[in-house]
Amino acid sequence: MTEDNFNTMRKMLVVPFLLFALAATAGAQSGSPLLLNAAGATFPYPIYSKWFDVYHTAHPNVQINYQSIGSGGGIRQLLAGTVDFGASDGPMTDDQLAQSKVKILHFPTVLGADVPSYNISGVTGELNFTQKALSGIYLGTITKWNDPEIAKANPGVNLPGEDIVVVHRSDGSGTTYIWTDFLSKASDDWKNKVGKGTSVNWPVGLGGKGNEGVSGLVKQTPNSIGYIELIYAVQNNIPYGKVQNADGKFVKADLAGVTAAAGSLKDMPEDFRVSITNAPGAKSYPISSFTWLLIPAQISDAAKRDAIKDFLKWMLADGQKFNEGLSYAQLPKTVIGKESKAISLIQ
């Protein structure tokens, strides 16, 4: 082509190219940072995002990018090898563990609670939910807010005769695991018809994506009920009710109740996979749970391995200090001790 054409073409390309190159290098830090990718549970997302932020400020060359796609996603992506570690509030099943080429270790991080949050016209106070009420609502056998099963536990509260809008998770979720684990213990009907898992065949209800999605739906939909992690209800000012525990008492989810539930645990198994829903004890909150980081026992990249081990050590010591500020309970001392020893299993 002619000289002129070539030159104009060249000029035309140079400017956008420069712009793009600028964009591409934007944010590149001096001395390339170590990038760890993680994904999983939305249940502990608020505390994890705080931890990773604080840890990054203290160790500027380590970036832990955590995406809250749900516990099911965390397990799946860990098994597929696309993330460096995962997170889940439903411990991996033996089947799932068998699918992994490397051994996967569970590390409890915090204790949290699933709460029944609701948005009922005219009701501003706390409702009491019996175990039968919650399982009935989610089975679809209890359909109105003024059903006797709900009303009898809440004398004096003016419950409307409106249909209950049930909200559950549309994605694979550890929060669902905790909730359905509890319902399976509370109701044989539920156990036989639906069962427990990160993704179940829900008899009724709308699906929201992540704890975020369920909270959003409950907040915007009148006469709805949804199960979310405690901090989501607190941060968004969504009312939540008391739940009847194994001892028959109505307990509101808080740090004391969750710690009591964990305290009733006699022995923590070696692999840390345990359920503390429906725990005995008058003060125990019945829908409490540990949540775990899923770490491969063999990590070939030495830099990543050291970073993960260092983060775990930090998490068990300094990290725990942030828990209560975000309404998660601290791990019991005995568990912390056991975990510290288990860190050495990561090779």
Binding site: R76, V200, L206, G208, K209, P222
Partner: protein, 335 residues
């Protein structure tokens, strides 16, 4: 003279437009063959890419196809715990939301297209068309955003109660308008989809209507038809295959729409008569569950859903293309 002898010897031109490897190599040197082969390779690359796509979909859905067979299409459960998967609720949801969107968008779109092609002065028509084409370019996640914060509350507080109140008790139609109204659901998703596809219908229909020969209109008017009669009874039927093509195009777009739908449909894999019930579509369930399908059968079932969606849009797009091309070639015959 020796020079003239040599020039004469060299005078006979060597021919390279024949066959043979030497001739090919010479043409190669001129670059034409290179250009031909180069561009051909890229074009063939598209074939490779598309067949690769279909191949991947087919192969990766193997587990699910083997286990469920044709039953997959009408099984209504979607149960990851007991490993029982069926496509029925998603096919239902995809079809219902798309049909609802067409029921809303086609009359409106066609009417608008008629206005723009027949009535509006040329400049107004061009400006409005320009604006409508812009709307076709708006990303779907933005429609989802608007859906969540405008359409859903509107549906829940205003439109829903009006519809339930007025149509809920009508004999046959009533069962589509019953029941609890959450704001999210089939109807909301259909409305959001309608907003998204109406620009396509207007744009293509207008183009097609503009190709109808003047003689047709003038003949009708000469025979004493009113303007409306001429338009509705002569012009539109002439263009009807093209308009149908635009409808199919819109339908194909609606079927594959993911983000806007998953934000407003309620994400519940159930088949329900009421339009206010929450539902699920193929695209939405893949978006929600793909990254977390634990278990190979689960993932395979999701990919099989993707294959089903691909086939649906493939057939529709093929039909749409045929119809539009047929009309553009002046083949519109009111028969």
């Amino acid at each position: 003279m020796s020079t003239s002898a040599t020039t004469m010897d060299r005078a006979a031109p060597r021919r390279f437009d024949g066959g043979g490897p030497r001739a090919f190599l010479h043409r190669l040197g001129h670059g034409d063959e290179v250009a031909h082969v180069l561009t051909l390779t890229f074009a063939a690359g598209i074939l490779l890419l598309t067949s690769g796509l279909v191949y991947e979909l087919w192969v990766n859905s193997h587990l699910s196809r083997a286990k469920f067979g044709w039953l997959f299409f009408w099984t209504r459960t979607w149960d990851p715990i007991f490993d029982n998967f069926g496509a029925a609720p998603f096919i239902y949801g995809t079809l219902v939301t798309s049909i609802v969107s067409l029921v809303i968008a086609v009359p409106l779109g066609l009417a608008a297209a008629i206005f723009l092609s027949e009535l509006a002065p040329r400049r107004m028509s061009d400006t409005i068309s320009f604006l409508i084409d812009l709307l076709a370019a708006v990303p779907s996640v933005i429609y989802g955003l608007l859906g969540i914060f405008i359409v859903v509350p509107l549906m829940r507080t205003t439109v829903g109660p009006i519809l339930i109140g007025s149509l809920g008790h009508v004999p046959v139609l009533g069962k589509f308008f019953k029941g609890p109204n959450y704001g999210v659901g089939f109807l909301t998703a259909g409305v959001v989809l309608a907003i998204m596809v109406v620009p396509f219908i207007i744009s293509v229909s207008r183009e097609v209507l503009l190709t109808v020969p003047r003689e047709q209109r003038e003949a009708a008017l000469a025979l004493g038809a009113t303007r409306w009669e001429a338009t509705w009874k002569v012009v539109v039927p002439w263009a009807r295959t093209g308009i149908l093509g635009s409808v199919f195009l819109a339908l194909a777009r609606a079927l594959g729409e993911t983000m806007a739908v998953t934000m407003v449909i309620g994400n519940d894999p159930k088949i329900a008569a009421s339009l206010f019930a929450p539902g699920y579509t193929i695209a939405a369930v893949i978006a929600n569950e793909f990254t977390e399908a634990t278990g190979d059968l689960y993932l395979s079932a999701l990919i099989e859903l993707g294959l089903v969606l691909f086939l649906m849009t493939f057939i529709l797009n093929g039909l749409a293309r045929l119809l539009i091309v047929a009309t553009e070639r002046g083949g519109g015959h009111p028969s």
